[in-house]
């Protein structure tokens, strides 16, 4: 089985996520793009595990999922709180911690 399409798919997904993080202002969208990048890397890990015939990459993918789940909990909570106090979900508005 050729692994090349999976890697290409993974790269495309990662690039979409990357561009999304850099260009979108809405915090929820940025967040979703981060998830996209994580899952792109998960796909790459699983693909390499398959290619190498061992389980290390798959275990790595599980770790990423666990961390991503935890991150979602914390991240969404922060976005919710900021939205409640500032009535905005734009990441550019939350720029008080500077200089």
């Amino acid at each position: 089985m050729s692994t090349e399409p999976y890697i290409v798919l993974s790269a495309i997904l990662f690039t979409i996520g990357c561009v999304g993080v850099l260009t979108r202002r809405n915090a929820i969208v940025v967040f979703m793009c981060v998830e996209l990048m994580l899952n792109a890397s998960n796909l790459a890990l699983v693909t390499f595990a398959k290619a190498n015939g061992n389980l290390e990459g798959q275990v790595g993918a599980f770790f990423v999922m666990v961390v991503a789940a935890a991150e979602v909990v914390v991240g969404l909570a922060i976005i919710m709180t900021i939205f409640r106090t500032r009535r905005s979900a734009s990441v550019d508005d939350a720029s008080l911690l500077k200089y």
Binding site: C18, L22, T23, R25, V91, A94, S95, Y99
Partner: protein, 651 residues
């Protein structure tokens, strides 16, 4: 017992044999050697640590410890006399003090005829001065502390003269310096006393630097610093090395003994209480330089150039001190100038080598008696005159203070060398020996004796004779018995000190330490020299009588005086010389260093700090708070890492 293997004594070339220190182990009464030091040390510890608890009886304890040391010293002296001539060096090993690789220093004590005489002087005269201080300091609320310092001084001085190696001697040397500093500045609320203490301490540092360099050079040259080892090995060293050691030791001696060029501190040291001036700055500590040179005779005897330097310093100082003494109105400063001058005579004796060592020590002991006597007498006069030190305010006190007057008279006759009194014998011998060495040195020493006659007569006349010049409210009264008793004992010793020269006893007694002098005939018989000295002294006394005794002494010092008087009043510009040569250049150097520190060193450090700050001002703009720009940096960084990995792995 010596820690070094006994080498065969090296025979010195020439007729005069330089003796080797070769002590036997202490036994019998000599095992108490350490107690002599321990007693006053314990006294000092109790008095200084005990605080107010010891206020009531502290002065009595202070006296007891020194008198106890005197008793032991006397017992050891008697025991030493009973031994054979060549068995009179006893040493006691207390413990290993320093042991670093090849450098081993033991806390060893050496008791020989030289130490024996010093022990008796320090504890005997010291004890008398302690007793005198009970009365003199009776009204001082810090009397207990005073006695603590005095005991500390006595302990340190005993370490100095009992040490068996140069380092232990240096310990005592610094100890007496510390005690001297504490006691000069005893009335530290007086700015002049605090400044005088500092001055003494700082000038002594210069001498101590020479002393410590000498010890290092001795160790480098001989591999040991014990008197035993050095005296055995000295014969094999190069003369240039010995000369260097001798000159460095002389520098140390100059500092401690107030010899030119390090003489300036002694006159200011008179700010201390009078018993301190008597004990430290007349009888004992200031003679430590003479002790050092006599103790190091095995070095100086083989370094004629160093001996010449000692003689030069001595002659300059004996005239310098005497000239200062002629025009001071402060009774203690006259005596201080006189002390400088008399130590000059001792140094002269010590510089003359084997022929003079014994006479230097002889004069040192006599001077200890008569100068302590006169200082205590001056203290008694000050006591009677409400602590006034200006002789122009005295006059005609002989009837008011009969005991002080009579005892002072004995000291006076001793110092000017009146025939039969102690100073006559010792000074006469030193000048005679100087004439054998060189006529010019002899002549200069004789002139010094004449000036001594002048200034001492001036002091006597202005204090005890001439017109009554004190104020109405001053009521001179004789001092209490506790103060007159030491005066009487010291006066008796001033009269009788000469008996040490009977049958050349002191010369023979010290021979195991300093060698046996070869008798040289002078070109003229000694009696002629004695008569010349007496004539010069008589001329000095007569001059004083005609210029001061027969005329009215003004109550305020006249200001229209000759340039010589003005120079002598200003200590021959000793302070001005020090200021110009040392203090002012030193200040300039310090100013330069301060500027360098502020501009270059501080500039570098502060510049670095402000450069970092300025850079941070630029870089902080990156922290703009926009998450997406941070993400871009993150991406850029990740790309860089990937590129770097690619370059490393593929390149």
């Amino acid at each position: 017992m010596s820690v070094l293997p006994m080498l065969a004594p090296l025979a010195a070339e020439g007729a005069e044999h330089v003796p080797v220190v070769d002590p036997s182990s202490a036994d019998g009464v000599f095992t108490l050697m350490w107690v002599v030091i321990a007693l006053p040390l314990a006294g000092a510890a109790i008095l200084l640590l005990g605080g107010r608890l010891t206020d009531a009886w502290g002065h009595l304890l202070g006296c007891l410890t020194v008198v106890g040391s005197f008793a032991i010293s006397l017992a050891m002296f008697v025991s030493l006399i009973g031994r054979a001539d060549d068995d009179r060096q006893v040493s006691q090993h207390l413990y290993d003090w320093i042991s670093v690789g090849g450098f081993k220093v033991g806390a060893d004590l050496l008791y020989d005829p030289l130490s024996a005489l010093f022990l008796l002087l320090i504890t005997g005269v010291g004890g008398l001065i302690h007793i005198y201080s009970i009365g003199y300091m009776a009204h001082d609320e810090r009397r207990r502390r005073f006695f603590g310092y005095l005991n500390l001084f006595v302990a340190a001085m005993l370490v100095l003269v009992l040490a068996e190696n140069y380092l232990l001697l240096f310990l005592g040397w610094e100890g007496v310096g510390l005690a001297s500093y504490l006691l000069i500045g005893f009335w530290q609320y007086k700015p002049s006393a605090a400044a005088a203490a500092k001055k003494a301490f700082v000038i002594n540092r210069v001498g101590d630097m020479g002393m410590s360099l000498a010890i290092m050079l001795i160790f480098v040259t001989f591999g040991t610093i014990s008197f035993t080892g050095v005296s055995e090995a000295a014969g094999g060293a190069k003369e240039s090395t010995l000369t260097a050691i001798g000159l460095l030791l002389l520098l140390g001696a100059c500092g401690k003994s107030a010899q030119v060029p390090l003489q300036a501190w002694l006159l200011d040291a008179m700010e201390g209480p009078t018993p301190v001036s008597a004990l430290i700055h007349a009888a004992t500590m200031v003679t430590a330089g003479v002790y050092l040179i006599v103790r190091s005779n095995f070095i100086f005897d083989r370094a004629p150039d160093a001996q010449t330097a000692v003689i030069a310093v001595a002659v300059v100082t004996l005239l310098w001190g005497a000239i200062i003494g002629t025009s001071k109105d402060d009774i203690k400063k006259v005596l201080a100038g006189s002390t400088m001058s008399q130590i000059g005579y001792m140094m002269l004796g010590a510089g003359l080598g084997i022929a003079g060592y014994a006479f230097a020590i002889f004069h040192l002991l006599n001077h200890g008696f008569f100068k302590a006597n006169m200082f205590l007498g001056a203290g008694s006069v000050m006591h009677a005159m409400d602590d006034d030190v200006d002789m122009r305010h005295y006059g005609a006190l002989s009837k008011m203070l009969p005991i002080t007057f009579l005892t002072f008279l004995m000291g006076y006759l001793a110092i000017i060398g009146f025939p039969g009194f102690s100073g006559f014998w010792s000074k006469d011998k030193i000048i005679e020996t100087a004439f054998v060495d060189s006529v010019w040195i002899g002549i200069l020493a004789t002139i010094g004796a004449g000036i001594t006659g002048f200034y001492m007569t001036r002091l006597m006349l202005m204090t005890f004779f001439t017109q009554k010049r004190w104020e109405e409210h001053v009521h001179p009264h004789e001092s209490p018995k506790v103060m007159t008793f030491p005066l009487i004992v010291l006066a008796a010793l001033s009269v009788l000190g000469g008996i040490m020269l009977l049958n050349d006893w002191i010369v023979d007694f010290l021979a195991p330490v300093v060698g046996t002098p070869v008798h040289h005939e002078t070109e003229v018989p000694p009696i002629v020299i004695t008569l010349i000295i007496l004539a010069v002294v008589a001329a000095g006394v007569a001059t004083a009588w005609f210029t001061i005794g027969r005329s009215e002494v003004p109550r305020v010092a006249p200001t229209q005086v000759s340039v010589f008087t003005r120079a002598a009043r200003n200590d021959l510009y000793g302070d001005a010389i020090n200021d110009t040569l040392v203090v002012r250049p030193g200040t300039h150097v310090v100013h330069g260093l301060t500027t360098f520190d502020k501009s270059v060193v501080d500039g570098a450090v502060m510049g670095q700090a402000s450069a970092t700050g300025g850079l941070a001002q630029v870089f902080r703009r990156w922290q703009n708070g926009f998450v997406r720009s941070y993400a871009l940096s993150l991406l850029g960084g990740a790309i860089l890492v990937v590129l770097a990995l690619l370059v490393v792995n593929l390149g």
